[in-house]
């Protein structure tokens, strides 16, 4: 028996009215695998993450997380839409970092990192603070724990957001264009943190990115999305080195030209 995939998209579709954003997506991600999603805007790549985080509903198909359906549950042998308790139980395995950080502006960096561990996991404040202090230290911000988001640079805010997500001990981390809103000189510090958690934690990571260099160096696999489908996927060496598909070649050519 092969090991259960961490995440499996089984024929998942997403439509907005007559617009099909994702068309029968099939994608398996193994435990600990680092997968990058690239593609032109509007290709549905961010939707993949948003569906997995349950920020978007799905119209067709089933998303499986460690062998359990994410937004469905079994009833009399059939899959029916899950209740909130089920969704929250599965969702607890997933953390997400957003393009626009989405830190809570009325809370310090520390308060941002202990809010969910205390209210959701029921951790004691002292324990949650100790854990958050470790994580803030890991992202290089132990000096900034009492600062509010508005007092931090974009790169620092994004690193707090990463610490905040990790504080919930997810098994899967989603990174949605996490460096796109940053000034160019701040991109490196955030990528450095992601590199580090990729090394130190046994996390499954799924990232949508425009940083082709980072995707190439960091990922085990790269998926190129085009018009709601995976157009081509493979190890970064192959996909970037010798793309088989014409669309992929065009996209990479355009991106590398611009970059």
């Amino acid at each position: 028996m092969t090991e259960q995939p961490m995440v499996r998209f089984d024929n998942v579709s997403k439509r907005y009215g007559s617009l099909t954003v994702l068309d029968g997506l099939n994608l398996e991600i193994a435990r600990g695998e680092k997968v990058s999603i690239i593609g032109p805007s509007g290709s549905g790549k961010t939707t993949v993450l948003r569906m997995l985080m349950t920020l978007e509903t799905i119209n067709d198909g089933v998303i499986w997380v460690e062998g359990e359906p994410l937004t469905h549950m079994r009833q009399n042998g059939k899959l029916v839409p899950a209740n909130l308790a089920h969704i929250r139980r599965i969702r607890a395995k997933i953390g997400m970092v957003f393009q626009s950080f989405n830190l809570f502006p009325h809370m310090t960096a520390m308060a941002n990192c202990i809010e969910a561990p205390i209210t959701v996991l029921g951790m004691k404040r002292a324990d949650a603070e100790a854990r958050a202090a470790e994580l803030l230290d890991m992202v290089g911000l132990s000096q900034k724990k009492d600062h509010y988001p508005s007092q931090l640079s974009g790169g620092q805010q994004q690193r707090v957001a990463i610490a905040r997500a990790l504080a919930m001990r997810p098994k899967i981390m989603l990174f949605d264009e996490v460096t796109s809103a940053l000034d160019p000189e701040l991109v490196g510090e955030v990528l450095q943190v992601i590199r580090q958690i990729g090394r130190e934690h046994d996390l499954t990571m799924l990232m949508v990115t425009h940083q082709m260099g980072f995707a190439k160096e960091f990922s085990d696999r790269v998926c190129f999305f085009y018009q709601g489908k995976i157009c081509e996927q493979g190890p970064p060496g192959e996909l970037f080195g010798a793309p088989k598909n014409e669309r992929t070649r065009q996209f990479l050519h355009a991106v590398l030209e611009a970059g």
Partner: protein, 219 residues
């Protein structure tokens, strides 16, 4: 003589006691309005299928005169077995009436919260209760304090309507003094001055609170 100072001094203590009733009605009414308004606004978002019912209810309350609602609670509710004394009925009517307005203010406050705040709350698996309590409400309230404050002053200025069901607040007391002594100039003028003074004081307090909140938010 148009203005009698002796008479003024004589009725001042009586009016002062009535003023306490007016202020009590205002504060109790506003506590109901602010709380119920918040509850309505939260339910409307947290339980989507209630949204239509709540918006109809709010529209109904806002589109009928407060005086009719006061009469309704005081004179019609007893027919259904709910007998309330005049003060309670009046405060309840004022509270519910202004809750309808306050719920719209809260709603505007919630609408102003960036979508990313809700999404981050979901990504952190917060319950909807925790999301409202710790994330949404603390950010939504400071910007709407001025609007809520305006309704506090407006509510206060409507308490004379309670005289219609014989609550012994300022207006009712002034009317009684007038009808007993045939002097209306002093009592009515004093009541007007009292409302003017209290409104100005409240407005100043609200501005101070607003400044305080802005300073805290500017961190």
């Amino acid at each position: 003589m148009i203005w009698d100072w002796n008479f003024t001094l004589q009725i001042l203590p009586i009016l002062a006691r009535a003023a306490v009733v007016s202020v009590e009605a205002t504060l109790l009414g506003f506590v109901i309005a602010a709380t119920l308004g918040l509850v309505l606004a939260v339910i409307r978002i947290a339980v989507p299928w209630t949204a239509w019912t709540i918006s109809v209810l709010v529209e109904l309350i806002r589109s009928t005169p407060l005086l009719i609602q006061i009469f309704f609670i005081y004179f019609v509710f007893p027919k259904f077995g709910l007998v309330l004394d005049a003060f309670t009925a009046g405060v309840l009517a004022i509270g519910i009436h202004y809750a309808a307005y306050c719920s719209e203010v809260y709603r505007a406050g919630f609408d102003n919260i960036h979508r990313g705040q809700w999404e981050a709350s979901i990504a952190l698996n917060l319950s909807s209760w925790t999301t409202f309590r710790d994330i949404i409400i603390p950010q939504a309230i400071p910007p709407i304090v001025p609007a809520l404050g305006n309704y506090l002053v407006a509510l206060f200025k409507e308490t004379p309507l309670l005289s219609a069901i014989a609550v012994l607040e300022l207006m009712q007391t002034a009317k009684i003094i007038g009808s007993e002594t045939f002097r209306y100039t002093e009592p009515i003028t004093l009541v007007g001055l009292f409302f003017l003074a209290m409104s100005l004081v409240s407005a100043a307090l609200i501005r101070a609170l607003e400044r305080l909140l802005n300073r805290r938010n500017a961190r």
